[in-house]
């Protein structure tokens, strides 16, 4: 993509894209908003490590982690689907474990570390799962994809860590299988039904990492 090509993301958040590149973004946002939100909730200072970078904010306690990432840090890779824990589009890794960022408050995570799709890999250095999603056509519209990829990476780790699932026959011996992947990915809905290709991408990466 050429540098001056107009993109949807560019239009949505051009100022923000600049802000996201700046390590001071959190402080800048805080300064703009002052110390009280419109409706009168006291603002709370919080510090997060997002994709390896420390950020500081002053946030209304009502701000979900998802909104902090998207609206304050302008990391718009993480998507808002349902905002109620029902779709998985907002999946990120919190201290290394996948969660729904729409159902937690940013203030609850002072001092925590978050990895989003932007932190897994970059266009120049894709994470193996990102590459596999491209190779296997693991998406159509792409809206669910950041959440799917964060989940898929976590699923392989959870299987390695011996965490059982509803598809596990013997609780003491988890055998990676299509049934395991499908069950464990059930918290990520895809309106375009790219499911078979997502599973293919996961099997590919699981093979790579086991070899």
């Amino acid at each position: 993509m050429s540098a001056n090509e107009v993109t949807r993301r560019g239009i949505l958040g051009s100022a923000a894209a600049v802000a996201a590149a700046s390590p001071l973004v959190g402080r800048a946002v805080a300064a703009e908003n002052g110390s009280r939100s419109e409706k009168g909730s006291a603002m709370i200072p919080i510090e997060l490590t997002v994709n390896g970078r420390e950020v500081h904010f002053q946030l209304d306690p009502r701000t979900t982690l998802l909104d902090a990432l998207r609206e304050h840090l302008r990391l718009t890779g993480t998507k808002k689907g349902c905002d109620h824990g029902q779709c998985g589009a907002c999946t990120v890794m919190l201290n290394g474990r996948r969660i729904n960022s729409c159902l937690t408050l940013a203030v609850m995570h002072d001092g925590d570390s978050v990895t989003t799709i932007e932190g897994l890999g970059s266009p120049e250095a894709l994470h193996p799962m990102q590459r596999a999603f491209i190779t296997h056509d693991g998406y159509q519209c792409g809206y669910c994809t950041p959440g799917q990829i964060c989940s898929a990476v976590s699923v392989l780790e959870e299987i390695r860590a011996g965490i059982p699932s509803h598809a596990t026959e013997d609780l003491d011996r988890i055998v990676p299988s299509e049934a395991e992947y499908r069950e464990r990915m059930s918290g990520n809905i895809c309106r375009c039904a790219a499911y078979p290709n997502i599973i293919a991408a996961m099997r590919d990466v699981a093979g790579e990492t086991q070899a």
């Binding site: 919190l94 699923v155 059930s186 918290g187």
Partner: protein, 318 residues
């Protein structure tokens, strides 16, 4: 979301005090149920007391040979715990049958017990609901009641308790350990923990304002074959229409607890006593006082079919 103030509690005692002294205060653990309900303004706490940093996230053996599960142990970690997988497998099975991998990473033992009903009218603030707004009536009674309860219901409310984990806890005779604002601890048998709706469906448990669940304690393992069977509208990531947790003994005895059909996780002595006589007898015993609607009477044959299937599976094992 209505605005609220927030604090991270520094100790169990301080958490209980804070929640008892501020009008409208609530604890927040995983947040996966409370925040959902706050977004819909079904829950409107004025103050949140974050209990995530109180060291309540450990699983320990008790001197009686049982297991003490900290209230903040995440559903994923509880399901994966070695002792739980070996000695209380029905608990692992029930946990992994619930919600999604992401949600289980966040959801806690205490929060799961206290999650609120999934009655669609409770969720729709334009509809009457005695649980959400006492005295307004029940939208479900004459409405869409397919998912709702058939046991322990009242004229005021027919909501089902939605938790899978709580069904296993009921089956295992868990105790809910708490501390109140005066620093007084108590242990509540899970059989006495949940209130039936009666005329006050807004009151769901025996907990007092500011009483914090600190742990859930299991008695020593009972052995046997542990199973959890959940039937729902899709294969995963959906609440139970009917679920059955069961422990089959070597000698033909068994115990059963049921989800999706009760105002609280459901277990009866009569059903356990009927175990040697098979699925039909257990069904008759547990459903003797069932009260159905045209939308949810399918749950009665479904209970029997699940039980029959579990018995068949058990025979094949033997």
């Amino acid at each position: 979301m209505k605005s609220f103030t927030y604090e991270r509690a520094a100790s169990v005692e301080a958490a209980a005090k804070a929640a008892a002294s501020v009008q409208g205060a609530r604890f927040i653990a995983g947040g996966t149920n409370l925040i959902d309900l706050m977004k819909l303004q079904i829950e409107t706490p004025t103050h949140l007391v974050d209990v995530n940093h109180l060291g309540l996230d450990r699983i320990e053996r008790t001197t009686e040979g049982g297991l003490r599960i900290g209230a903040l142990v995440r559903n994923t970690d509880l399901a994966a715990d070695k002792t739980v997988r070996r000695d209380y497998a029905v608990l692992s099975r029930a946990l992994v049958a619930g919600a999604s991998g992401q949600l289980r990473n966040k959801a806690t033992t205490g929060g799961n017990l206290l999650q609120r009903t999934r009655c669609p009218y409770f969720y729709d603030t334009r509809m009457p609901c005695n649980k959400r707004k006492p005295g307004t009536g029940c939208g479900a009674m004459e409405g869409m009641s397919r998912s709702l309860a058939i046991l322990g219901v009242s004229d005021a409310c027919i909501a089902q308790h939605p938790s899978d984990m709580a069904v296993a806890m009921r089956l295992l005779d868990a105790q809910v350990d708490t501390m109140d604002a005066d620093g007084v601890a108590r242990s509540i048998p899970i059989a006495d923990f949940y209130l039936l709706p009666g005329d006050t469906p807004n009151r769901e448990t025996v907990l007092k304002q500011g009483e914090l669940i600190t742990s859930v304690t299991l008695p020593k393992p009972v052995g046997g074959t542990h199973v959890y069977r959940k039937v729902r509208d899709r294969a995963s990531y959906a609440f139970a229409l009917v679920s059955v947790g069961a422990i089959f003994g070597e000698d033909g005895t068994a115990r059963f607890a049921f989800g999706g059909i009760g105002a609280r996780p459901w277990r009866t002595q009569a059903a356990d006593a009927a175990a040697p006589h098979g699925a039909r007898a257990v069904t008759d015993a547990v459903l003797a006082d069932a009260r159905t609607t045209p939308h949810n009477d399918f749950k009665k044959p479904l209970v029997e079919r699940i039980l029959a299937s579990l018995y068949r599976q058990q025979e094949e094992r033997a």
